[in-house]
Subunit: 152 residues, 2 copies
């Protein structure tokens, strides 16, 4: 199995970062504006990515998993691109040196395909969007997300 991992520091209290990861409004502020569902453990969140014209480009359904000792937020991918189904996304938060350090992981890709490289780069830019949301009050969620290549 193959994993995408990223580490980013955010100059804000841990609870504020957690809020951006565990509320519909928070998630809609940095990943995609069209975020719907419930964020409680065992519930599902649907993330729909749309073009500027409103047309659907992609859709991910995540089931919220119970937190572990180190990972406050964990999702299991229920629906989405075939490469994503069965993978797990997690966010681990800790306070270090006056920052909230976020250790992100998108685990259990079956193959290290080129699409995984695309997603790794997109996740990095979305984590910067999350940081901007928390630190400055404004993220860059889809459809205003940074386009990084010819795939999106």
């Amino acid at each position: 199995m193959h994993h995408i991992t990223h580490r980013v520091g955010i100059h804000a209290p841990l609870a504020q970062v957690e809020q951006a990861l565990t509320t519909i409004d928070g998630l809609a502020g940095w990943w995609t504006r069209d975020t719907q569902g419930q964020t409680g453990v065992g519930e599902s969140i649907t993330f729909t990515f749309r073009g500027h014209g409103g047309g659907e480009m992609g859709r991910f359904v995540m089931k919220v998993l119970p937190p572990t000792a180190t990972q406050q937020v964990r999702w299991s991918v229920q629906a989405g691109p075939p490469e994503w189904v069965g993978t797990e996304v997690s966010f681990a938060l800790s306070q270090q040196d006056g920052q909230t350090v976020l250790l992100f992981a998108h685990r259990d890709w079956r193959e290290q395909v080129e699409f995984m490289a695309h997603c790794s780069m997109k996740w990095a830019t979305f984590l910067l969007s999350l940081r901007a949301l928390v630190e400055q009050g404004r993220g860059q969620p889809a459809p205003e997300d940074l386009k990084i290549d010819n795939w999106n």
Copy 2:
């Protein structure tokens, strides 16, 4: 073994991207200003990262490997942080949809440590720096690089 991979599209001719990866001036324009050495196959390039005051923060020595059918630029890490020594960095370029698509890989990490997550995020931001250099004439190499967490 574990790998970092990223994919980024650059709106410029392939030869221009290749130049930013195969000349000392090009590399100094997006990764670190203190880039020295020779970029021919079999030769070595030394990348030194400094703080704003000029003090050395880190140093990487890369041996330039022969290109493969798909990877135009390949480096073997000769010296640097222990986790990096023996790993391989590569850049594969192709033209697609009017862009030069860069498939980046930093392969053969022995363990998927937290430092790898940090490096994955840093590589993503340095690839955006490379894109800015090629598209707009100005990258963001160290020491002006984007600081992404409490480690750098």
